[in-house]
Symmetry: C2
Subunit: 146 residues, 2 copies
DNA sequence: TAGAATCAGTTGGAGTACAAAGTAATAATG
DNA sequence: CATTATTACTTTGTACTCCAACTGATTCTA
């Protein structure tokens, strides 16, 4: 029960630590969503895109989410298992997997309470548009740099 | 080869997407480090803390990293397997696992090229101190909100 | 048109992360 | 002092993520 005295890290480590902490918070919330609303953060994001663009292909979904194709494979499988989407490969190009949301999937999207989007919305409300832009740009800059 | 026309998402989704993208970029770089310098991002961060605080316990390390104890178990195992740290439980409290860096571990820390810290350092150089503060605060705000 | 190159998606393996449940050691309580 | 509670860490199970290698379908080319 030694109460962990605070320690001083350098600027980069400090920044990295915050970024990591935010990342973990994001993941944590995402997992909690699974028990509360039935889908995780990535699953819900994918579901939204599939809902908005009916007939979306798996590859395009991966590019939209900036995810590796194999990652999307898993997310889709879990969404399909739970009956939230259907996957068809009966289009003109039979390599392509066409995705469509089900009514059950649409029902999941209807409720926003407890989602990450909600928390993001709350957080962004506290910022001016100038600050928002600065944060957006920094995130982009970092992502490109890495 | 349909070149993915850009699509318009809402502000929250846009932000969320960027945050996620940055997160993935972070993970990607972290994994690449494994092949280039022999340890991943989290592993190197843990190694740095163990190096700075000899005799650190596993639990305290977990709290410093804002990680779940079970996550730290895995990271430590991999570091120990590669001979970068040693774990002892011969202290006064035999539940506690005391961590110490080896000379091999210290050698890994010596080289900063290709690490995430380096990229972060580069990215932050492009910002004014005011902007840096704004970004820091937003990250904190979001992490608390989630 | 047969063979080669490309493309779409999946599989397997490693790493990170969490929660829940388990084990062992120490502390607290009656 | 024996029982109970707490603490420290590990194990198990699920999810997300990447890369490398694979299968199957389509396109290109000689």
């Amino acid at each position: 029960m030694t109460s962990d005295p605070p320690i001083e890290l350098g600027t980069e480590l400090e920044f990295l630590s915050r970024l990591w902490t935010l990342d973990h918070a994001l993941q944590k919330r995402s997992k909690k969503m699974l028990t509360t609303i039935g889908v995780t953060g990535p699953q819900r994001l994918a579901l939204r895109l599939i809902g908005r663009f009916p007939g979306l292909t798996a590859g395009r979904l991966a590019r939209l989410l900036h995810l590796h194709p194999s990652t999307v494979t898993g997310v889709m499988q879990r969404l399909a298992e739970r009956g939230l989407i259907v996957r068809r490969n009966d289009g003109p190009d039979r390599r392509r997997l066409l995705l469509q949301i089900t009514s059950k999937g649409a029902a999941v999207l209807a409720d926003k309470t407890g989602t990450i989007e909600e928390a993001v919305h709350e957080s962004l409300r506290a910022l001016t548009s100038v600050e928002t832009t600065a944060v957006f740009n920094t995130l982009d800059l970092l992502a490109r740099r890495l």
